[in-house]
């Protein structure tokens, strides 16, 4: 059984993308094939192919990626669609049900029998099949947000760098005719491996020599084509590298880790679609990350769609149900959370306080009498 999950997040990238909406207006639709290959110690593994559809109407965009030949089941996600409507980025991922996950309870006393893809899984997996790479290629706003100054966010799957918005040194070569597009981008790792401590703090340590100085982390290239006077990417590649820890120290060999290749086969110069939010199938389980991105005390809100209009954050905060929502997230003290324990503690302190107050009054009365 297939289920769908929608993740809506106002990430740092998205926020910046909105700010950069002044970039020259782009409007086109394109179709093509994305090939992804992982390497095992430099040896290429099997290639996985996806059909890609892109719609861009700056600042809005919509990307759809579907696995071809059933090979794209990288984990439970087999396809996804990501879009921005000016308020948030929506990522709808579809995949196989996780049979052993507990059923999800939702309003109406019934249960959704299908399993669900957990927040973190679904949030990271689209990145693994090239979501950021595709957006980087086609959406100037996203590209601007990723490459600010001499530093850049990574556009490949790296949970630590992405989560902590670590920016790496980048070298860019801009297209001579169309300055909106970079021809080549090289990300340079500063020689540090990054990980998280148990308190989720970002930690860093130098890679073993000679990688502790600097090494090429990833190389991106793009070729453009001119369609009715507008330059649009026709092909793009992204290759990531890792230090070879097997080789004798001092050689400094880099191994290919992953490569993405995007080849566009059809371009329509004017984008005709009006709805940039991905369509939701019936009974979609929504994992809403928007609040969590604003306040880490929130946890991913999991709700089931009711067919109504999708609320932006400011509208949701004004809704009648918002108080209950805060209660569910333990961000407002609610009766449901007041366990017997706290009630008993209250009773205990009340009893002892009354005894003490009686003693106090006795002492005061005695002093007055004497």
């Amino acid at each position: 059984m297939n289920i769908s999950t929608i993740n809506c997040f106002m990430s740092g990238v998205a926020g910046l993308a909105l700010l950069h909406s002044s970039a020259a207006a782009q409007s086109f639709s394109a179709e093509g094939i994305l090939s992804h290959r992982s390497y095992i110690q430099g040896t290429p593994g099997e290639e996985t192919r996806y059909k890609v559809t892109v719609h861009v109407k700056s600042p809005q965009w919509l990307v759809r990626v579907e696995a071809l030949d059933g090979n794209g089941t990288n984990g439970p996600v087999s396809s996804y669609a990501a879009g921005q409507d000016g308020e948030a980025i929506y990522v709808v991922s579809s995949g196989s049900a996780i049979e052993d996950q507990p059923p999800v309870e939702w309003e109406g006393d019934s249960q959704m029998s299908a399993g669900y893809v957990s927040l973190n899984l679904s949030r990271s997996l689209p990145a693994r099949i090239g979501a950021t790479f595709i957006c980087f290629t086609f959406v100037p706003n996203i590209r601007d947000a990723i490459l600010t100054g001499d530093k850049g966010d990574c556009i490949w799957y790296d949970p630590v760098l992405s989560k902590h918005h670590v920016k790496l040194d980048v070298m860019t070569q801009i297209h001579p005719i169309q300055p909106l597009f970079e021809k080549t981008v090289v990300w340079l790792n500063d020689g540090k491996i990054r990980f998280e401590a148990e308190n989720l703090k970002l930690m860093e340590k130098p890679w073993p020599p000679p990688y502790n100085k600097e090494y090429t982390n990833a190389v991106y290239t793009a070729t453009l084509t001119n369609v009715y006077g507008t330059l649009i990417p026709l092909a793009a590649t992204l290759t990531t590298f890792v230090p070879d820890l097997v080789a004798d120290s001092g050689t400094g060999t880099l191994l290919k880790e992953e490569s993405y290749s995007l080849q566009i086969s059809r371009i329509i110069p004017d984008c005709q679609i009006a709805e940039f939010r991905p369509a939701l199938p019936q009974m979609t389980l929504v994992t809403d990350l928007r609040w969590m991105d604003r306040d880490p005390r929130f946890h991913p809100a999991r709700v089931v769609t009711n067919g109504g209009p999708w609320k932006v954050v400011s509208m949701a905060e004004l809704a009648d149900e918002y108080d209950a929502f805060l209660g569910q997230h333990h961000l407002r003290f609610s009766e449901a959370l007041q366990t017997g324990h706290l009630n008993r503690v209250c009773r205990q302190i009340v009893v002892v306080t009354i005894v003490m107050l009686c003693i106090l009054m006795g002492i005061v009365a005695k002093r007055r009498l004497s």
Binding site: I40, I193, P300, R332, Q348
Partner: protein, 576 residues
């Protein structure tokens, strides 16, 4: 009846030997069952049975670690040493660990009695204080928890220090002062929570020692003699704070929430003195999962209780100076553990009052004394005291029974507060160890619901699933833990599972994780893991190369040689 009256009136002096026998018998009746108790999978692994250095017994390496190592972010060299010596002479046996804790408690009871005799004289108040200390339910954790060896050990040295201090006050000498200083240093080295004791000594100088009566010169001398002790405490406090801060043990709540926690915590400790309820191993900080503040009524009523006691003490100043002094000493001693600077996820712990309660016991005994007006009231007070002690003893027996093992102690915590994710999580660990995987996963699920940002739940769930023979679910839980926190501790078990279990084998992903783990920590274990993943990828030559590097280390376990032989014969490791 006549004997009771004369005893309470101070006409009959109690036979010290008989009283000592009474304390020993009562303590044994209450605490002897601990020798059949197990270690608790909470703090105990770090202190003894999960700590290979401690389990290895006495050596230069273990001595060095005992002096420099932190356990649970706390620097307790003497406690570390006591565990090392225990393992050296008796091995890792829970019965011995519990017996040592019990004997230390017994020694503390007897030392306290001696201290009370010197401080308030040989009378029924001293007996009552010692009795309460021996059997109070709030002291159960200090005795029944092996990890709390530090508390009972530190108290032993603290009581020796107090006895030396009384001797020094009586006959001041350099030797006597050094004795005080050394006992205090040892007490701090066993557990740093006695930081504020020098301030308590100043208060003792007010009452009952009355050392400020000698004018300005005496005042100056009394103050100056506390300076070395304060410096010692300060140095220890800095080490402790840095340890907690560097490990991220200090939680970040708002200032208002910290004040509220302090007020509620203190009120609960006071209330538990006379009306102990819901005692358990971990009182989860509700501010962790509520709106960031406590229920207002609870804060208000707690503040009322503290104000009432302070007023009572103040109003009694003329008649009984000890009231105010004992109350202030209690507050001073509670200061380091009151969670104004919150450490970890709990807002109070029974063990924290092991020493501070002594001063509340003195208040209770003195308070009861105020009700004695004549022969009839003497009998009533005696009856009240006996009934009170008997009731507390019953509560202690019940409370002690919950400390048998991990499952019993955390079942109690869950029963007390079903919204406590920490209790659910640790109960899951206990259930998993008892091979009750269904219960383990149920508790992990409950903990996850209550604390969605925690990854420990996922790790425990993964381990439970793995033990239950469900590697597919285990991988999902491990992945979830890694998604929340990309720490080496989360990466390595997932890498191992993905490279060795045929049902979930994903060598490519395993290699990525193992490479990261190796780059972070180039240890023999991570080299072995990297070699294992390389072999799973079919890169046997490289696996042999890396395994040889793992074997070149000093302490490489023999299993690595077996791994090497497998890789040389082009076989990958398979663990079902």
């Amino acid at each position: 009846m006549r004997i009771i009256n004369e005893f309470l009136a101070g006409k009959i002096k109690p036979d010290t030997v008989l009283l000592v026998e009474l304390f020993v018998v009562l303590s044994m009746v209450l605490y002897w069952p601990v020798v059949s108790f197990q270690y608790i999978y909470y703090d105990d692994p770090g202190w003894i049975f999960g700590n290979p250095i401690v389990m290895g017994g006495l050596s230069w390496k273990s001595l060095h670690w005992a002096m420099t190592g932190l356990v649970n972010d706390t620097w307790c060299p003497l406690t570390n040493l006591s565990f090392i010596l225990e393992c050296q002479f008796f091995g890792v046996r829970p019965a011995v660990s519990h017996l040592v804790s019990f004997l230390l408690h017994l020694a503390n009871v007897l030392l306290l009695f001696r201290f009370m005799l010197l401080l308030i004289g040989k009378n029924w108040r001293a007996v009552l204080v010692t009795l309460l200390f021996a059997i109070h339910p709030m002291n159960v954790q200090a005795v029944a928890s092996v990890a709390e060896r530090k508390g009972v050990l530190s108290t032993l040295f603290l009581l020796l220090m107090l006895l030396s201090y009384l001797k020094y006050v009586k006959a001041p000498s350099r030797k006597g002062y050094w004795r005080v200083f050394i006992w205090y240093a040892l007490s701090l080295a066993a557990k740093p929570s006695v930081l504020t004791v020098p301030l308590a000594l100043l208060l003792l100088d007010v009452w009952p020692l009355a050392r400020f009566a000698g004018g300005r010169k005496a005042f100056k001398r009394v103050l100056l003699e506390k300076v070395p002790l304060l410096m010692l405490a300060l140095a220890n406090g800095v080490v402790e704070y840095l340890g907690q801060r560097n490990s991220g043990g200090i939680a970040s709540f708002s200032f208002a929430a910290n004040v509220q926690t302090t007020v509620i915590g203190l009120a609960r400790y006071v209330a538990n003195l006379v009306y102990p309820i819901d005692l358990n191993i971990c009182y989860f900080h509700p501010v962790n999962y509520y709106t960031g503040s406590w229920p207002e009524f609870l804060v208000f009523i707690s503040a009322c209780l503290l104000v009432a006691i302070s007023l009572i003490s103040w109003l009694m100043w003329r008649r009984e100076k000890g009231f105010v002094v004992c109350w202030v000493i209690f507050l001073v001693l509670m200061a380091p553990v009151i969670q104004f600077i919150p450490a970890g996820h709990i807002y109070m712990a029974d063990r924290y009052v092991y020493v501070p309660y002594i001063w509340l016991f003195i208040m209770v005994a003195s308070g009861l004394g105020l009700f004695i007006r004549g022969p009839a009231s003497r009998v009533s007070v005696t009856l009240a005291a006996v009934v009170g002690v008997a009731l507390l003893m019953c509560v202690s027996v019940r409370q002690l029974a919950t400390w048998k093992n991990t499952v019993t102690v955390f079942s109690r915590a869950v029963a007390v507060d079903p919204n406590n994710p920490l209790a659910h999580m640790n109960l899951a660990v206990g259930c998993s160890l008892d091979k009750d995987y269904k219960q383990a996963i149920e508790n992990v699920t409950a903990a996850r619901e209550l604390d969605p940002h925690g990854f420990m739940e996922d790790k425990i769930a993964a381990e439970s699933c793995l033990r239950a023979g469900e590697p597919v679910r285990a991988v999902r839980y491990y992945q979830s833990a890694c998604d929340i926190c990309q720490s080496p501790d989360n990466l390595t078990p997932l890498a191992w599972l993905l490279s060795t279990n045929p049902k979930v084998r994903n060598p490519e992903e395993a290699l990525r994780l193992a490479r990261q783990a190796l780059a972070i920590e180039p240890s023999a274990a991570n080299l072995d893991l990297f070699a294992t993943t390389l072999a799973a990828c079919g890169k046997f030559e490289q696996a042999v190369q890396i395994e040889n590097r793992a074997l070149s280390g000093e302490d490489s376990p023999p299993i690595y040689r077996e791994h090497l032989l497998m890789f040389q014969s082009r076989k990958m490791i398979t663990v079902e």
